[in-house]
Symmetry: C2
Subunit: 387 residues, 2 copies
């Protein structure tokens, strides 16, 4: 017991040494400077200097990032480990003070950030991560990047400030050229599933910006990681209609700020969601909690694009989902079932399980064709007292 | 060695058990429902129900947050530990993918978030954290909250995506009624100090919103944690002037969004900084890196306030700081030393160490008195190639 306590008290030193030994091949490469594709003899002084600077820069970055070149099974720094017989990834996270909203529950944006983070750390552990944003070595060679085409997140229960979570993530095949990535977010203490998510990814040529087939070389890298398990069992995918300018809510002239751009120089996914949700009136946001969001991505949004966010409450959604059982009662009582009227109505609210649904569209302002950035659908339930 | 490796491979299970045993007093309280300050006999059914709901809610939250009621020395979940002879706190963090900007270096906003997070985790470890935003049990009893009056962050080097950091934080006395909190951010691998920060905090009555003396009860709680060490040695504090509407840059009609509010229902500090920095033209932000920011807080900003952000380049700053040595040369050559002209000037840029300085003001729109939210000063240096 004494030895055990001592180990528990000095975890950082112990793990530090252990980590160093196991996955720090880059450390050694600092003194070894290789100039890629450059013959030292034929370079001018200036070329030589810039090549050296460039290589030194990459080496320093490699050392500081410490990206492994072979598969790792445990990462103490990120509190991550390989699961699912060697192909899935689990990471433990604590909800931080700035990841929660005024009600102390984690924001949807923080959830999306954590999904991105664990996905990238999964690739990190695989030994396949090149310098790109989740791209493998094979993808780098073919000048390919990942782009997300669909994302769905279901939230049953919002974690609170200080709560400890386990996030599992894994990948699977999606058709011939795509990849599915799923996640499960659980309470570390009880194992209760708080949220689940699924997404579909395809490859795009970084230069031409056209979608690409999956090269055999890349398939060989990632297919061994594919498993069949699905976090969300998809029924037939329901079509999300394209909204037009008759949509009930609209925010115009949205301009990406420098701080909204990610490592790919694109407007971050999280910013999309913020723009979408901000069209919904505050009093609805305050009284409701998002339970589901589906995003269908259509095109990239760059730093100079001006964006419109459209939003339409979905009256059908109310009828079909939450009030399926209560339809007759409501009609008998002569209530309009429009989402806006339901909101705050004591009688109907007492049914407790009615849901609001919204259809969303983000589009580039001023373009008539190919103007859609992302279509979305959100579902909301009335907030209960407990977070 | 064999035992050692085994422990290293299964850290989560081991630490989980260890943690549970040491600081989970709340877990036991789930079945014990106590109604604070309510006589069960005199309550109506409704009162009773709401009291029970309220207590059940608090208990559930306590269990999920697991805030310790006695001092802890190690927190494996947050990778934190008590240092400095029992009064300081150190936490290891890995820079996450969404905490960096387009250049893969951590954003100032993420740094500020991490400072807040480690400060709160320090209080968490102390066993003094009540349910508030860093408030102690004594502060809760006196209905007091912390408000920050001054914050200064110096960044020498920006960590990059995936880099492992150690953040140290500790507190000291500031006058009779205030508290100083300092931080050091270091590379975990090399020990190199990347950033340092200091801040001053005072207490405010939550109801009256007036500043308060530090009650003896609170002093008794926190004074044992005070140490003298300072992360930034302050010279005489330079006054930050109040800008007026003649300021060169101005962003008007800034409205806090729901997602900008923190647990205290106030506009988050990080949002203030974003508003400040967004007044600086993009081409300057792209070519420069912030090396220092000072914030002087004057009043709270609520969710319904409309905010103006003013910004003035500081010509004196250039003369006094970066170009102290080059002043004569520059004047001889007839160059204007205005910050805007220096920017992008090949000749002067070759001096390499010139700095830009800006004075900032966030104010409530439409109020003539007591309209200042925060005054600021930022200092910037030219970006080098390497992050």
């Amino acid at each position: 017991m004494a030895t055990f306590s001592t180990l528990a008290y000095f975890p950082i030193t112990i793990r530090f040494s252990w980590n160093r030994a196991s996955y720090d091949p880059n450390k050694k490469s600092l003194s070894y400077i290789k100039i890629n594709g450059t013959s030292a003899k034929s370079t001018t002084k200036l070329d030589m200097a810039s090549a050296l600077t460039s290589v030194a820069y990459i080496s320093e970055q490699q050392v500081r990032q410490n990206i492994p070149t072979t598969k790792q099974f445990v990462d103490h720094y990120r509190q991550g480990m390989i699961i699912e017989g060697g192909v899935g990834y689990r990471q433990r996270v604590v909800i931080r003070s700035y990841e929660v909203g005024p009600d102390k529950t984690v924001t949807l944006e923080s959830i999306l950030n954590l999904l991105q983070e664990t996905a990238l750390n999964h690739v990190w552990m695989s030994g396949l991560l090149s310098d790109g944003f989740g791209a493998t070595h094979g993808m780098m060679k073919h000048d390919l990047i990942w782009v997300v085409s669909r994302m769905q997140v279901e939230v049953d229960h919002y974690p609170i400030w200080g709560e400890v979570l386990e996030i599992d993530t894994w990948v699977g095949a999606s058709g011939k050229n795509g990849m599915r990535r799923d996640w499960l977010i659980r309470s570390e203490a009880t194992g209760h599933v708080f949220a689940s998510a699924t997404s579909t990814w395809v490859m795009m040529n970084r230069t031409t910006r056209r979608l690409s087939k999956m090269p055999e070389e890349v398939r060989a890298e990632i297919a061994p990681w594919f498993i069949e398990k699905q976090a969300i069992t998809e029924d037939v995918l329901e079509k999300i209609v394209k909204l037009d300018n008759k949509a009930k809510y609209m925010n115009k002239d949205l301009k990406p700020k420098r701080s909204d751009l990610d490592m790919n120089q694109h407007v971050n996914n999280v910013k999309y969601v913020r723009w979408m949700l901000e069209t919904i009136p505050d009093q609805i946001l305050e009284a409701h909690q998002l339970t589901s969001i589906i995003l269908e991505y259509r095109r990239e949004c760059g730093s100079s694009d001006i964006v419109q966010s459209l939003c339409q409450p979905d009256e059908d959604g109310i009828l079909k989902d939450g009030l399926k059982q209560d339809k007759e009662t409501s009609l008998v009582n002569g209530f309009s079932l429009a989402a806006e009227i339901l909101e705050g109505n004591g009688f109907l609210a007492s049914f407790g399980n009615q849901k609001l649904r919204y259809t969303h569209l983000l589009k580039i302002d001023g373009e008539s064709q190919n103007d859609e950035i992302v279509r979305g659908r959100t579902t909301w339930k009335k907030k209960s007292f407990s977070p």
